[in-house]
Symmetry: C2
Subunit: 84 residues, 2 copies
Amino acid sequence: MDLHEVIGLIAAVLTTASFLPQVFKTYKTKDTSGLSLTMYIVFFIGVVLCSIYGVYLHSLSIILANSITAILALYLIFMKIKYK
Amino acid sequence: MDLHEVIGLIAAVLTTASFLPQVFKTYKTKDTSGLSLTMYIVFFIGVVLCSIYGVYLHSLSIILANSITAILALYLIFMKIKYK
């Protein structure tokens, strides 16, 4: 694997994994007052489109990374609506 | 431009633009209690690596989208540290 593919892979893992601490924090504290619902809705649509883009590119890593991020974003949308 | 490139472009614009409402909200309310610092630090490193990946791919849109997102994430890190 080329160096730039390794960098791309690490980047994808980090951006996807970064939503986990937010999900854990929101799950534990139910504190959603500072979260922007608009951000997560727009972001969710964006990553769903990214997943569709991945289908066109036949890239399993793009599909996987973005689908996981979409699920995490959807959870935060749900929490924001429930605990606003 | 192919349909899948249009989808990819819209996806990139949406995921980048999604951080703007969060930045505006945080700027206006200074309410960072629900924000996860870990999320934004890991996310920041991820999008910086994405930008570097874009340099390798000679993709101006990847570089631009991720650099803008990195700046927005950095602002949220700064606000979280200042108003925690």
